[in-house]
Protein backbone atom coordinates (compact mmCIF):
# COMPACT_ATOMS: atom_id res chain seq x y z
CA UNK A 1 0.00 0.00 0.00
CA UNK A 2 1.43 3.36 -0.95
CA UNK A 3 2.60 5.34 2.06
CA UNK A 4 0.56 8.36 1.06
CA UNK A 5 -2.53 6.28 1.49
CA UNK A 6 -1.26 4.65 4.67
CA UNK A 7 -0.44 7.85 6.38
CA UNK A 8 -3.62 9.57 5.43
CA UNK A 9 -5.95 6.64 5.90
CA UNK A 10 -4.83 6.10 9.47
CA UNK A 11 -5.88 9.56 10.49
CA UNK A 12 -9.00 9.97 8.48
CA UNK A 13 -12.34 9.68 10.16
CA UNK A 14 -14.92 7.42 8.52
CA UNK A 15 -17.30 9.51 6.46
CA UNK A 16 -20.23 8.51 8.61
CA UNK A 17 -18.53 9.74 11.79
CA UNK A 18 -17.16 12.88 10.23
CA UNK A 19 -18.64 16.22 10.83
CA UNK A 20 -18.71 18.80 8.07
CA UNK A 21 -15.29 19.93 6.84
CA UNK A 22 -15.37 23.21 8.61
CA UNK A 23 -17.12 22.02 11.73
CA UNK A 24 -14.10 20.83 13.69
CA UNK A 25 -12.39 24.15 14.25
CA UNK A 26 -15.33 26.19 12.94
CA UNK A 27 -13.40 27.39 9.91
CA UNK A 28 -16.14 29.66 8.75
CA UNK A 29 -16.75 31.25 12.14
CA UNK A 30 -14.08 33.94 11.72
CA UNK A 31 -13.96 35.85 8.44
CA UNK A 32 -10.57 35.56 6.71
CA UNK A 33 -9.64 39.20 7.21
CA UNK A 34 -10.28 38.99 10.94
CA UNK A 35 -8.21 35.87 11.54
CA UNK A 36 -5.27 36.06 13.92
CA UNK A 37 -3.23 33.35 12.29
CA UNK A 38 -0.11 33.80 14.41
CA UNK A 39 -2.06 33.13 17.61
CA UNK A 40 -4.30 30.39 16.28
CA UNK A 41 -3.83 26.78 17.38
CA UNK A 42 -2.64 24.21 14.84
CA UNK A 43 -6.07 22.57 14.54
CA UNK A 44 -7.70 25.94 13.89
CA UNK A 45 -5.13 26.80 11.22
CA UNK A 46 -5.67 23.44 9.57
CA UNK A 47 -9.42 23.98 9.64
CA UNK A 48 -9.00 27.34 7.94
CA UNK A 49 -6.60 25.76 5.45
CA UNK A 50 -9.19 23.08 4.70
CA UNK A 51 -11.53 25.87 3.70
CA UNK A 52 -8.89 27.19 1.28
CA UNK A 53 -7.02 29.70 3.48
CA UNK A 54 -3.48 29.53 2.10
CA UNK A 55 -2.13 32.08 4.60
CA UNK A 56 -3.28 29.91 7.47
CA UNK A 57 -1.52 26.96 5.91
CA UNK A 58 1.66 28.99 5.47
CA UNK A 59 1.56 29.80 9.19
CA UNK A 60 1.13 26.12 10.02
CA UNK A 61 3.98 25.18 7.67
CA UNK A 62 6.29 27.75 9.23
CA UNK A 63 5.68 26.22 12.65
CA UNK A 64 6.37 22.65 11.62
CA UNK A 65 8.96 22.88 8.85
CA UNK A 66 12.00 22.56 11.16
CA UNK A 67 10.65 19.42 12.87
CA UNK A 68 9.61 17.86 9.57
CA UNK A 69 13.07 18.62 8.17
CA UNK A 70 14.71 16.92 11.17
CA UNK A 71 12.53 13.83 10.73
CA UNK A 72 13.51 13.67 7.08
CA UNK A 73 17.17 14.19 7.94
CA UNK A 74 17.21 11.43 10.55
CA UNK A 75 15.51 8.92 8.28
CA UNK A 76 17.15 9.72 4.93
CA UNK A 77 20.51 10.99 6.23
CA UNK A 78 20.57 13.65 3.52
CA UNK A 79 19.85 17.37 3.91
CA UNK A 80 18.57 17.66 0.34
CA UNK A 81 16.23 14.71 0.82
CA UNK A 82 15.11 16.13 4.16
CA UNK A 83 14.03 19.35 2.44
CA UNK A 84 12.08 17.36 -0.13
CA UNK A 85 10.46 15.28 2.61
CA UNK A 86 9.34 18.36 4.57
CA UNK A 87 7.85 19.99 1.47
CA UNK A 88 6.20 16.79 0.27
CA UNK A 89 4.65 16.16 3.68
CA UNK A 90 3.20 19.65 3.87
CA UNK A 91 1.88 19.53 0.32
CA UNK A 92 0.10 16.25 1.11
CA UNK A 93 -1.25 17.86 4.26
CA UNK A 94 -2.61 20.76 2.20
CA UNK A 95 -4.37 18.42 -0.20
CA UNK A 96 -5.88 16.40 2.63
CA UNK A 97 -6.44 19.14 5.19
CA UNK A 98 -10.18 18.52 5.30
CA UNK A 99 -9.64 14.83 6.04
CA UNK A 100 -7.75 15.35 9.29
CA UNK A 101 -9.67 14.06 12.27
CA UNK A 102 -8.73 15.96 15.46
CA UNK A 103 -10.19 13.18 17.59
CA UNK A 104 -7.36 10.88 16.49
CA UNK A 105 -4.43 13.03 17.49
CA UNK A 106 -2.67 16.35 17.17
CA UNK A 107 -1.94 18.13 13.92
CA UNK A 108 1.81 17.95 14.58
CA UNK A 109 1.71 14.20 15.06
CA UNK A 110 -0.31 13.84 11.85
CA UNK A 111 2.28 15.87 9.96
CA UNK A 112 5.11 13.81 11.49
CA UNK A 113 3.32 10.68 10.36
CA UNK A 114 3.09 11.90 6.76
CA UNK A 115 6.73 13.02 6.81
CA UNK A 116 7.92 9.71 8.29
CA UNK A 117 6.18 7.67 5.63
CA UNK A 118 7.48 9.93 2.87
CA UNK A 119 11.01 9.71 4.26
CA UNK A 120 10.87 5.92 4.64
CA UNK A 121 9.77 5.66 1.01
CA UNK A 122 12.65 7.85 -0.09
CA UNK A 123 15.19 6.03 2.08
CA UNK A 124 14.10 2.70 0.62
CA UNK A 125 14.34 3.99 -2.95
CA UNK A 126 17.65 5.78 -2.51
CA UNK A 127 21.01 4.11 -2.91
CA UNK A 128 23.03 3.78 0.31
CA UNK A 129 24.67 7.06 1.19
CA UNK A 130 28.43 7.32 0.81
CA UNK A 131 30.31 7.72 4.05
CA UNK A 132 31.04 11.40 3.48
CA UNK A 133 27.40 12.26 2.89
CA UNK A 134 26.54 12.41 6.57
CA UNK A 135 24.78 15.63 7.58
CA UNK A 136 27.06 18.42 8.64
CA UNK A 137 26.74 19.19 12.33
CA UNK A 138 27.88 22.31 14.08
CA UNK A 139 31.05 21.85 16.14
CA UNK A 140 29.99 22.33 19.73
CA UNK A 141 33.56 22.38 20.99
CA UNK A 142 35.64 25.55 20.63
CA UNK A 143 39.12 24.00 20.50
CA UNK A 144 40.31 22.13 17.40
CA UNK A 145 41.11 18.83 19.14
CA UNK A 146 37.72 18.59 20.77
CA UNK A 147 36.08 19.60 17.49
CA UNK A 148 37.98 16.86 15.69
CA UNK A 149 36.96 14.30 18.31
CA UNK A 150 33.34 15.43 18.04
CA UNK A 151 33.46 15.10 14.26
CA UNK A 152 34.90 11.59 14.57
CA UNK A 153 32.15 10.61 17.01
CA UNK A 154 29.52 11.96 14.66
CA UNK A 155 31.08 10.12 11.71
CA UNK A 156 30.94 6.86 13.66
CA UNK A 157 27.35 7.53 14.68
CA UNK A 158 26.45 8.37 11.07
CA UNK A 159 27.94 5.09 9.86
CA UNK A 160 26.06 3.16 12.54
CA UNK A 161 22.80 4.94 11.72
CA UNK A 162 23.16 4.03 8.07
CA UNK A 163 23.23 0.38 9.08
CA UNK A 164 19.75 0.70 10.58
CA UNK A 165 16.69 -0.04 8.44
CA UNK A 166 14.64 3.10 7.64
CA UNK A 167 11.82 2.05 9.99
CA UNK A 168 14.20 1.87 12.94
CA UNK A 169 15.54 5.33 12.09
CA UNK A 170 11.95 6.54 11.85
CA UNK A 171 11.21 5.14 15.31
CA UNK A 172 14.21 7.02 16.69
CA UNK A 173 13.19 10.18 14.85
CA UNK A 174 9.72 10.21 16.35
CA UNK A 175 10.40 8.80 19.78
CA UNK A 176 13.83 10.19 20.64
CA UNK A 177 14.16 13.31 18.46
CA UNK A 178 10.57 14.54 18.55
CA UNK A 179 9.77 13.16 21.99
CA UNK A 180 6.49 11.55 21.03
CA UNK A 181 5.02 9.04 23.44
CA UNK A 182 5.12 5.38 22.49
CA UNK A 183 1.45 5.39 21.51
CA UNK A 184 1.81 8.55 19.40
CA UNK A 185 4.93 7.35 17.63
CA UNK A 186 3.36 3.94 16.99
CA UNK A 187 0.23 5.57 15.56
CA UNK A 188 2.35 7.84 13.39
CA UNK A 189 4.14 4.83 11.92
CA UNK A 190 0.90 2.82 11.64
CA UNK A 191 2.26 0.03 13.84
CA UNK A 192 1.48 -1.31 17.31
CA UNK A 193 3.20 0.03 20.42
CA UNK A 194 4.86 -3.33 20.86
CA UNK A 195 6.27 -3.20 17.33
CA UNK A 196 7.55 0.31 17.95
CA UNK A 197 9.30 -0.83 21.12
CA UNK A 198 10.92 -3.63 19.14
CA UNK A 199 12.19 -1.15 16.55
CA UNK A 200 13.60 1.14 19.24
CA UNK A 201 15.20 -1.71 21.17
CA UNK A 202 16.95 -3.10 18.09
CA UNK A 203 18.02 0.38 16.93
CA UNK A 204 19.56 1.41 20.27
CA UNK A 205 21.13 -2.01 20.77
CA UNK A 206 22.86 -1.85 17.39
CA UNK A 207 24.00 1.74 17.90
CA UNK A 208 25.35 0.94 21.37
CA UNK A 209 27.23 -2.10 20.12
CA UNK A 210 28.75 -0.20 17.16
CA UNK A 211 29.71 2.78 19.33
CA UNK A 212 30.88 0.82 22.36
CA UNK A 213 34.32 2.41 22.24
CA UNK A 214 33.11 6.00 22.45
CA UNK A 215 30.17 5.52 24.81
CA UNK A 216 32.21 4.06 27.68
Amino acid sequence: MPNALLSIAGWEAPITERSSPDAAPKAGAVPPLARDRAAAADAVLLGWAAAGDRLAFDQLATRHLPALYRIGLRITGSAAEAEEVAQEALLRAWRNAARFDPARGQVGTWLYSIASHAAIDRARRAAPLPLDAAPETADPAPDPEAALAARERQALLGAALRELPPRQRAALALSHDQGLSGAEAAAALSISTRALEGLLRRARFLLASRLRGILE
Binding site: L5, I15, R95, P135, Q154, A208
Partner: protein, 146 residues
Protein backbone atom coordinates in the same frame (compact mmCIF):
# COMPACT_ATOMS: atom_id res chain seq x y z
CA UNK B 1 14.84 -5.99 38.35
CA UNK B 2 18.00 -7.55 36.97
CA UNK B 3 20.67 -5.60 35.05
CA UNK B 4 19.80 -7.49 31.84
CA UNK B 5 16.17 -6.38 32.14
CA UNK B 6 17.33 -2.84 32.90
CA UNK B 7 19.51 -2.91 29.79
CA UNK B 8 16.45 -3.89 27.71
CA UNK B 9 14.45 -1.08 29.34
CA UNK B 10 17.16 1.43 28.38
CA UNK B 11 17.26 0.15 24.79
CA UNK B 12 13.49 0.39 24.48
CA UNK B 13 12.68 3.58 26.35
CA UNK B 14 15.98 5.45 26.48
CA UNK B 15 17.95 6.95 29.34
CA UNK B 16 15.38 9.48 30.50
CA UNK B 17 13.55 8.04 33.57
CA UNK B 18 10.53 10.20 32.73
CA UNK B 19 9.94 8.01 29.66
CA UNK B 20 10.16 4.69 31.51
CA UNK B 21 6.83 2.83 31.91
CA UNK B 22 5.40 3.48 35.39
CA UNK B 23 5.13 -0.24 36.07
CA UNK B 24 8.90 -0.68 35.73
CA UNK B 25 10.20 2.74 36.67
CA UNK B 26 10.27 2.17 40.43
CA UNK B 27 12.19 -1.09 40.21
CA UNK B 28 14.57 0.46 37.67
CA UNK B 29 15.27 3.42 39.95
CA UNK B 30 15.98 1.08 42.87
CA UNK B 31 18.38 -0.95 40.76
CA UNK B 32 20.06 2.25 39.57
CA UNK B 33 20.65 3.26 43.18
CA UNK B 34 21.98 -0.15 44.23
CA UNK B 35 23.94 -1.49 41.28
CA UNK B 36 27.17 -0.11 39.82
CA UNK B 37 26.57 -2.20 36.70
CA UNK B 38 23.17 -0.54 36.20
CA UNK B 39 24.73 2.90 36.66
CA UNK B 40 27.34 2.08 33.99
CA UNK B 41 24.57 0.95 31.63
CA UNK B 42 22.65 4.15 32.33
CA UNK B 43 25.70 6.34 31.66
CA UNK B 44 26.18 4.59 28.34
CA UNK B 45 22.55 5.13 27.40
CA UNK B 46 22.84 8.81 28.35
CA UNK B 47 25.97 9.17 26.21
CA UNK B 48 24.14 7.63 23.24
CA UNK B 49 21.19 9.97 23.73
CA UNK B 50 23.52 12.99 23.87
CA UNK B 51 25.29 11.83 20.71
CA UNK B 52 21.97 11.46 18.92
CA UNK B 53 20.93 14.94 20.06
CA UNK B 54 24.15 16.47 18.73
CA UNK B 55 23.82 14.71 15.40
CA UNK B 56 20.64 16.39 14.25
CA UNK B 57 21.09 20.00 13.20
CA UNK B 58 18.01 21.99 12.32
CA UNK B 59 17.71 23.67 8.94
CA UNK B 60 19.62 26.93 8.60
CA UNK B 61 17.80 30.17 7.76
CA UNK B 62 18.55 29.83 4.05
CA UNK B 63 17.19 26.28 3.87
CA UNK B 64 14.08 27.33 5.79
CA UNK B 65 13.45 30.27 3.45
CA UNK B 66 14.00 28.01 0.43
CA UNK B 67 11.55 25.39 1.70
CA UNK B 68 8.91 28.02 2.55
CA UNK B 69 9.20 29.64 -0.85
CA UNK B 70 8.92 26.34 -2.73
CA UNK B 71 6.03 25.21 -0.60
CA UNK B 72 4.17 28.51 -0.99
CA UNK B 73 4.59 28.25 -4.76
CA UNK B 74 3.35 24.65 -4.79
CA UNK B 75 0.35 25.49 -2.59
CA UNK B 76 -0.49 28.57 -4.66
CA UNK B 77 -0.76 26.48 -7.82
CA UNK B 78 -2.38 23.45 -6.16
CA UNK B 79 -6.16 23.11 -6.13
CA UNK B 80 -7.94 23.80 -2.83
CA UNK B 81 -8.00 20.90 -0.37
CA UNK B 82 -10.35 18.07 -1.28
CA UNK B 83 -13.55 18.10 0.79
CA UNK B 84 -13.74 15.54 3.58
CA UNK B 85 -16.24 13.32 1.86
CA UNK B 86 -14.62 13.46 -1.57
CA UNK B 87 -14.16 10.30 -3.51
CA UNK B 88 -10.70 8.90 -4.13
CA UNK B 89 -10.78 10.49 -7.58
CA UNK B 90 -10.68 13.89 -5.96
CA UNK B 91 -7.42 13.29 -4.10
CA UNK B 92 -4.84 12.08 -6.58
CA UNK B 93 -2.03 12.03 -4.05
CA UNK B 94 -3.91 9.64 -1.80
CA UNK B 95 -5.23 7.27 -4.40
CA UNK B 96 -3.44 4.27 -5.83
CA UNK B 97 -5.67 4.57 -8.91
CA UNK B 98 -4.80 8.20 -9.56
CA UNK B 99 -2.68 7.28 -12.58
CA UNK B 100 -5.84 6.04 -14.33
CA UNK B 101 -7.49 9.44 -14.12
CA UNK B 102 -6.12 10.79 -17.44
CA UNK B 103 -7.56 7.72 -19.18
CA UNK B 104 -11.06 8.52 -17.96
CA UNK B 105 -12.30 10.13 -21.28
CA UNK B 106 -10.82 7.33 -23.37
CA UNK B 107 -12.46 4.74 -21.11
CA UNK B 108 -15.84 6.44 -21.42
CA UNK B 109 -15.47 6.57 -25.21
CA UNK B 110 -14.61 2.89 -25.36
CA UNK B 111 -17.64 1.99 -23.24
CA UNK B 112 -19.99 4.05 -25.42
CA UNK B 113 -18.57 2.42 -28.58
CA UNK B 114 -18.98 -1.04 -27.07
CA UNK B 115 -22.58 -0.29 -26.07
CA UNK B 116 -23.35 0.99 -29.59
CA UNK B 117 -21.86 -2.16 -31.13
CA UNK B 118 -23.91 -4.42 -28.86
CA UNK B 119 -27.07 -2.46 -29.65
CA UNK B 120 -26.41 -2.66 -33.39
CA UNK B 121 -25.77 -6.41 -33.19
CA UNK B 122 -29.05 -6.92 -31.34
CA UNK B 123 -31.18 -4.73 -33.59
CA UNK B 124 -29.70 -5.57 -36.95
CA UNK B 125 -31.63 -8.21 -38.93
CA UNK B 126 -30.01 -11.62 -38.93
CA UNK B 127 -28.72 -13.24 -42.12
CA UNK B 128 -31.49 -14.11 -44.53
CA UNK B 129 -32.47 -17.72 -44.66
CA UNK B 130 -30.70 -19.48 -47.50
CA UNK B 131 -32.95 -22.40 -48.45
CA UNK B 132 -30.48 -23.67 -51.02
CA UNK B 133 -27.88 -24.07 -48.21
CA UNK B 134 -30.18 -26.13 -46.00
CA UNK B 135 -29.49 -29.73 -45.10
CA UNK B 136 -31.69 -31.51 -47.72
CA UNK B 137 -30.20 -29.70 -50.73
CA UNK B 138 -26.70 -30.24 -49.38
CA UNK B 139 -27.36 -33.92 -48.89
CA UNK B 140 -28.78 -34.08 -52.36
CA UNK B 141 -25.58 -32.52 -53.71
CA UNK B 142 -23.39 -35.09 -52.04
CA UNK B 143 -22.45 -37.72 -54.49
CA UNK B 144 -23.08 -41.00 -52.82
CA UNK B 145 -20.70 -43.85 -53.58
CA UNK B 146 -22.18 -46.47 -55.76
Amino acid sequence: MRPETFSGLLDTHGADPARWPPAEAEAARRLLADSAEARALHRRAQALAALLDESLPGPDAQALARMRARLAQAVATAPPPAPAGASIWDSPGASPWAWLRPLWPAGCGALVTLAACLLWLNLAPGPAAQPWLGAPPLLAMVELPE
